[in-house]
Symmetry: C2
């Protein structure tokens, strides 16, 4: 069994293993019997060292992920991508030396330059949402007794957009945090750097997705050229998000008044009223499959169709596109739980065969640490 | 014993406790005997619920931190701050109702408006550094076999500044990550929002501190007005940072050529050559105490003196200023370890008595989550 480190871990004891983000660790299930819960004993692929590590710093990796050399060669012999890249580390791809950091770069290798422009679909999760950091009570934390919004922590947005039905409706439709805006802008700028051509942008009606779309477009310097199509059919599996009632989303008019670049003439493939609370997994799968097919049909220009949705969108939209059946529902929850903010999946059309295939995304991963609150009194005065 | 939650924790089991960042949790040491290692059983001050929680999601709090009401009143009866604040939630401060989020706002209450401008010292830790996210091997991860820099993850800076002695010297003097730049800019903008008057800015010679200073100044829109004074005496305790040799810092000339707004005429109170590797704690304490006194003496204008240093600076510079002895060295390590990126401490001068006292910082905390790398192949195709 192979694990992949999601975070860096620095040993606190002599018998523990140093791991860096992206490291692969071999774990022999037969050796785990006497190990304390939450810990595993493993061997680092990078260093060859052996020791204890915290299991929740890792995710399960596929065995084949460590077949580095083979994968590297596949990439260099199939120049089939529709994006162009500056400062390509070609030397590394064709080099003979497998450096210690090679395994890390697996997910980070950028596509090759190719002038053939095809259709591509880039599915993206929204950025960090305020309730992800501050919990369900986030709105209470930044409202005065009179219901006036203030910024209780610098990661809260400096203002909330205006909505007619009152500020309390943000509770079930939370905005991005400032960090979420930063993440979205960074991905947009990276897409611009790699000269990715985005011709269409679709968003879930959730505010965090529309804000992500807006800031990605700003990073791409396309916010005055490509307008956001708000597609209710892209909303989260309602069993997860809306167990009793579908949130009151901001209307397209309100969004446009709040300076979001919305395509007000767009009519969704699904209407808001067609979303039902607590839909079954089968209903969600069939909605996702229908919406991606309708999007593909209505976007004929070559270049990238950007879809900003939820973690779940990365699997539920891409699998029907490339002809795979839906994951089973328990597997689905496992996979989706691990998708970070601004996680992306990419598919491209194979014109000759009129089908779609998975491809390397045009941008690399975005990995950063957490920042905790602290009390300055403890630092200066108290013990 | 009281703990303070550093992160949100969502229960995975029925017997676990939901905690939000900033929550206080009461823990009875006599009840912990049968609890699995790494877990404690506690009662939430906010919800009154009882259950298991992961100990490493918390830090030890002072008992008196939960004396909320008393502290709130102290703040409203001493309008002695030198900064002005917009959108002040005064209603809340003077209100009768102690809402459930009151304990959280403890560290976040903003100073009162006051037109009397005094001298203040704002000590700030630098932003997120690349090696904090990517580990000690960060430079290997983003250099090609030919030694050319490329951005292996979007949180690496898009370029590195030029330095004559070669890129390898960044290993011991790492730059900010993109997230670190975001954090610095955000604090600068918040200082501008609160109309804080910064007249002087000092920085440790470490690149991450100079970059933090630069981006804070940009956020403050002061980057063409106030120049950065690079003060070698502000460098980290060399026992932690430079056990064998002091890093080769970028020279003031190189920094200026790389567009950092440096005061090239400034001569440090300490010279670079006076920094010795592996200095004793006493040597570090005495250096810190000397440097803060020299800074205070040479900055006579009213307004804020901003000092960008290391986590350790927040205690080692402020305690001599307000007349407290240095912490003992084990205590020191404990406290410093918990200071987040852009953590700040603030002291102000009491003119009548010609001494300094601790005060509420002019900006609130900055709390955000981590973002992990993931492998898109697992999402679409693999199990």
């Amino acid at each position: 069994q192979t694990l992949r480190a999601l975070f860096q871990y620095k040993p606190q004891n002599i018998d523990e293993l140093m791991i860096n983000t992206g490291d692969f660790i071999y774990v022999d299930p037969s050796q785990q019997s006497s190990v304390c819960e939450g810990w595993v004993i493993g061997t680092s692929h990078r260093t060859g060292c052996r020791g204890f590590l915290p299991e929740n710093y890792t995710e399960r990796a596929s065995e084949s992920d460590t077949w580095v050399k083979h994968r590297e060669y596949v990439l260099t012999t199939t120049p089939r991508f529709l994006t162009r890249t500056k400062n390509e580390p070609n030397e590394k791809l064709n080099g003979e030396v497998l450096s210690s950091s090679m395994s890390r770069s697996l997910t980070n290798i950028l596509p090759q330059q190719n002038s053939t422009l095809q259709r591509g679909v880039l599915v993206m999760r929204h950025g960090e949402r305020v309730d992800q950091v501050f919990g369900k009570s986030w709105l209470q934390q930044c409202l005065t007794a009179e219901g006036k919004y203030y910024r209780a922590d610098l990661n809260f947005p400096s203002t909330l957009p205006k909505r007619k039905d009152g500020v309390s409706h943000f509770e079930y439709d939370p905005p991005l945090s400032c960090c979420g805006v930063f993440q979205s802008r960074l991905i947009g700028e990276a897409l611009l750097d790699h000269e990715v051509t985005v011709n269409y942008i679709y968003s879930s009606p959730a505010l965090r997705c529309i804000q992500t779309a807006q800031h990605v477009l700003q990073g791409l310097k396309l916010d005055n050229k490509v307008k956001i199509r708000v597609e209710p059919g892209l909303f989260e599996w309602t069993k997860w998000e809306a167990s009793r009632v579908i949130p009151n989303f901001m209307t397209v008019t309100e969004l446009a008044e709040a300076s979001y670049k919305i395509d007000t003439s767009y009519r969704g493939n699904f209407s808001l009223s067609s979303l039902v609370p607590s839909e079954s997994y089968e209903e969600y799968v069939s909605r996702s499959s229908a919406v991606i097919k309708q999007i593909i049909t209505s976007c004929s220009s070559k270049g990238v169709i950007l879809i900003v949705g939820h973690g779940s969108s990365l699997t539920s939209l891409t699998r029907p596109l490339i002809g795979l059946p839906a994951r089973d529902s328990s597997d689905f929850a496992q996979v989706v739980r691990k998708i970070p903010s601004l996680g992306v999946c990419f598919c491209e059309e194979v014109k000759e065969e009129s089908k779609w295939q998975v491809a390397n995304p045009p941008v690399t991963t975005l990995t950063h640490g957490a920042n905790a609150a602290f009390n300055w009194r403890n630092v200066i005065v108290e013990h």
